[in-house]
Subunit: 608 residues, 2 copies
């Protein structure tokens, strides 16, 4: 049996290996299929075409080569290896295996004798190693290599990449350990990777190095840049901060790694600080979609309540990173709000970013597109050179999101459920099979649902443990009237009993649309309403308005919002003419799938 | 008699030389005094300290030197020479003259035999000349040198810098003329400079080169960058655009130069296009303060109605550039709305940026500061390395604004009035003397006022022409009840008569505070009101609230806004407690003068 993507040595809830929590056909299952069949090959094609993989061949050749792509191009190859590994973990052998083998061979050949591995630094014609902590992304790339190696080892059981990662990690421990360079990477990432490597190798030095990086961050070891010290979270020690700030992906990767360190070292103070940071960030610095980061300039969190929908950044990778942070807190504490945010982010960021063909992506996920997108700068390779865009793009100059989506979707089954010695906790609702082992023996559940289209979820016991065991279902924060029955009788959300094969839990979630009004301190959406339906945020898209209406002239009558034949409709009123029209509100994730359009999530409330 | 800063060969209104329109003690006179006594020496001190002036010494030495500052550091020295020249033009000889002499000597020594002059490019250890049109700012710097040379020649009557400028301009005509490099500078500026040089030298090739640059812009000769082709206005030919877009200062300098070209070449189509651009930009892309540019990332205009107050950029230099654009349109058309915007921008951008001591400046002028500023990144030299800041800073890494303020304030008298053959037009109200010559002979007016504190303006005829002449006063767009009398009798805003020495015009402008509501398409301020008083935009500053109130909890009862002893007060209501308090609304330009504070121009309207 393979190990799960995140495997704490001790946590309240135990994650399931990916071959124990498998998605079946359904909303999430389809996303995973698209990722496996399209995103992964698409990303490999682009990275070969642009020469990002060939950087490793150049490095291995020992002769001069022109490095292609940005400072962090290496990491995208690593993320794809990680994605293929998690695909293997739940679905077994496939043609992807040889792709991973080829990439790993080329990566391994580029490693230098002392363990260092980065294709942009250190050769005579390149900048020296460790000469640019602010933007160089060396340790960041190492982190992704280590994460890929852990995934590969857990999925394939071989050490071909793990040995490379251990040599690299050992190099890092020597260079940056006690008595070494007192520096951190401008982009956090290696911390979360080193802890997972420790969980694989059992080598304490890898955990110690992660803990040292966490403690060192916030002590001002990075040069001051235009965006300030907060950009790379170097303004305050992690344990002293009470909210996330600066570059969103950096902040969230750091927080995820810090939870891992806190869990492994039993550092309650650090864990409490991170929970506080999560609370304040979600309450004050998170969009209704779960999106994080409102600055385009520095891809950063704004101040509290600075959440403009039209300049929302909500980078796809920040969504991925937010899920990483929340998942680790869920395992550590068992509190359902972390699963709530994971669900919100999966439905409204991850699923929004991904084009239906698996070959196009949003880098940033705006909540308000004023006009159909007509200014997308593509370079001669057809690569989009800006993150913000009103259309999903095939590839970006900074193309962190496609591989990040791929590794997230490949490991999606892992977020469905956890176990304790006495039961199973179901956190996300998707057609799936949960195949756990509890104190009383194997405990297998079948989950079938058309969620999120429909609120009915049926859970059938396929194999029951010999002793009483519990099943705990998450009651989502948004469900005002959740109902559960066991074999037709009302039941509580946690049931402990002796289960029988064929026992049937029927859960009904309340998917009635809900009108939401913003906090009065969010200036950018004052006087507006949004509509949610289950985990979905809804949106008004220009293609659904009468041709003579501009999106900016449409206001909404909140009392008219209603469910109708599985979709949601409402009455829009023209700001100037007063004309009323029934309009559909579509899931936000579906916008811009019928061609370029204008769209808004927060809609001005009609007056009078 | 010296020439005015902008001297069209033919225009509806003729500008006055600076020694013919002199500011006296008063609001604007005091700003000019601060600039002369503090801003200019302060800027020279910083530019010497940071080595920006020494770059010229290095270039002149012929030996290797380390270039200090950014690509455009040369231009700041030129702007200060321009500022000193305009000071000289209205105030005569002073100690500043030797500063200008010294700077000009050092600049001139750095010119190369073929006329090229830039301290960052072309030497064996530097990047080659013209190797980076996107960011190199070579032609931009040339433009500022030419503007300084024109100012110096007009003020001092000598050719010490003008000869340098002509050699440089001739080099440009050879390099970039017909048959030369088909390129434009990433940052427009040389266009406006070359036209003014033509107006000084009469050399048609300088005008032709400016016209060629204007025509070439928008044909895609610049490399594509992340911010798109619109960033440097290379997306559309100037005459085809209907609104300003991209980097605000670039767009406005370009527009100013294009008006000059249109006027000198009699190109009505081009002039009409620019008038349309002005109309649409002011209607849809300009803040209530006159500020332009809502993106921090690319210092650029947003789309129509994207005017978030908390992420407003409103660069000080964009205010200066907006005044340049409007002034040229005012001269060409005589339409008072251009003077209205100049006034709005002077009072709310120029006057806001400048610290009272003349030694601190806002680079960006936000309309909403949520919390007192506590994150201002200063480098080891004490230089602020970011534009956006809630405090006025002594110097910036990109320190275009202090010299730009200095040259604007030095030439401020020039904006007060114009002449035609038969009269004087007064555009701005400030204590001053206007000393014109009309068809009937000398015509001298004395203007005394305590405006904008008070709405009374007295204009006394000190010298009268022999024949009937007109006096035209601007009736500001904001004044609901303007009154004018001549020697005690009601009079229209344009009077044509035979004037007598001692004739006395008494103008009363309506300074009652006005509550303003935003266009419904400006999402960021929906449900808010702003208050204006004359040309001033008012603001609510946190230091005027009860200590227990957060600025974000304060709402306003619009009906309570009232003038009281020369200031404006209103009732604020606490969003949660419902408590009411009388609060002062201060001129926006005065914010952050009592220490760091939170502030907002657009204030949520109290409910109920």
């Amino acid at each position: 049996m393979s190990a799960p993507p995140v495997q704490p040595s001790h946590a309240l809830l135990q994650p399931l290996p990916l071959d124990r929590a498998r998605l079946e056909e359904g909303f999430w299952g389809r996303l995973q299929t698209v990722s496996r069949s399209a995103v992964i090959p698409h990303a490999v094609e682009w990275m070969e075409r642009l020469g990002w993989v060939a950087n490793f061949d150049g490095a291995a050749s020992g002769t001069r080569y022109e490095h292609r792509g940005r400072e962090f191009a290496d990491s995208e190859i690593y993320k794809i290896i990680e994605a293929i590994s998690w695909e293997r973990a739940h679905s077994g052998p496939s043609a992807l295996d040889t792709i991973a083998d080829d990439l790993i061979r080329r990566v391994a050949a580029a490693q230098e004798p002392d363990g260092y591995l980065h294709t942009l630094f250190g050769r005579p014609w390149q900048a020296p190693r460790y000469s640019d902590f602010t933007w160089g992304h060396e340790l960041y790339c190492f982190g992704h290599l280590i994460q890929a190696a852990v995934a590969h080892h857990r999925a394939y059981g071989t050490r071909s990449l793990l040995d490379v990662a251990v040599r690299l990690a050992d190099h890092v421990c020597v260079m940056f350990g006690p008595g070494g360079l007192n520096r951190v990477c401008g982009h956090a990432e290696i911390e979360v990777a080193l802890v997972e490597l420790f969980r694989t190798t059992g080598e304490r030095r890898h955990l110690d190095q992660a803990a040292l990086f966490i403690e060192r961050r916030g002590t001002g070891t990075l040069p001051l840049i235009e965006f300030g010290r907060a950009f790379a979270q170097d303004d305050l020690p992690v344990r002293e901060a009470d909210v996330l700030r600066g570059h969103a992906v950096r902040a969230l990767y750091l927080a995820a790694g810090a939870v891992d360190v806190a869990v492994e070292t039993g550092d309650r103070e650090l864990l409490d600080a991170l929970r506080t940071q999560w609370d304040n960030t979600v309450a004050r610095r998170t969009y209704i979609t779960g999106g994080m980061g409102s600055h385009h300039m520095d891809e950063a969190f704004g101040e509290d309540h600075v959440l403009p929908p039209d300049r929302s950044y909500c980078e796809t990778c920040a969504g991925v990173a937010s899920i990483m942070f929340s998942w680790r807190l869920l395992l550590a504490t068992g509190e359902p709000r972390y699963a709530d945010l994971i669900e919100r982010t999966l439905h409204n960021i991850v699923a929004t970013s991904l084009g239906e063909d698996g070959r196009s992506f949003f880098y940033a996920n705006t909540l308000h597109q004023r006009h159909p997108s007509d200014d997308v700068p593509l370079n001669d390779d057809g690569v989009c050179i800006r993150g913000g865009s009103g259309r999903r793009q095939a590839w970006y100059e900074v193309s962190c999101c496609p591989p990040n989506l791929a590794r997230t979707l490949a490991s999606l089954g892992g977020y469905l459920a956890t176990t304790t010695s006495d039961g199973i906790q179901i956190h996300q609702y998707a057609s799936s099979t949960i195949d756990a082992v509890v104190a009383g023996g194997p405990f297998e559940l079948d989950v079938t649902t058309d969620y999120p289209r429909d609120g009915a979820v049926t859970i059938t016991v396929r194999q029951a443990p010999a002793r009483p065991a519990s099943v705990t279902l998450r009651d989502p924060e948004w469900s005002a009237a959740t109902r559960l029955s066991l074999n037709g009788e009302p039941a509580p959300m946690t049931l402990t009993r002796t289960w029988q094969v064929g026992d049937r839990l029927e859960l009904t979630l309340d998917l009635r649309p809900r009108v939401v009004r913003p906090d009065h301190r969010v200036d950018a959406v004052r006087g507006c309403v949004a509509v949610r339906r289950g985990p979905e945020v809804l949106a008004l898209e220009s293609v659904d308005l009468p041709p003579s209406w501009a999106l900016e002239d449409a206001t909404l009558l909140p009392d008219t919002v209603a469910a109708e034949h599985g979709s949601v409709v409402a009455t829009a009123r023209h700001h100037r003419t007063g004309e009323d029209r029934a309009v559909p509100l579509i899931p936000y994730r579906s916008w811009a799938r019928r061609g370029p359009s204008a769209m808004r999530v927060w809609i001005p409330e009609a007056r009078g």
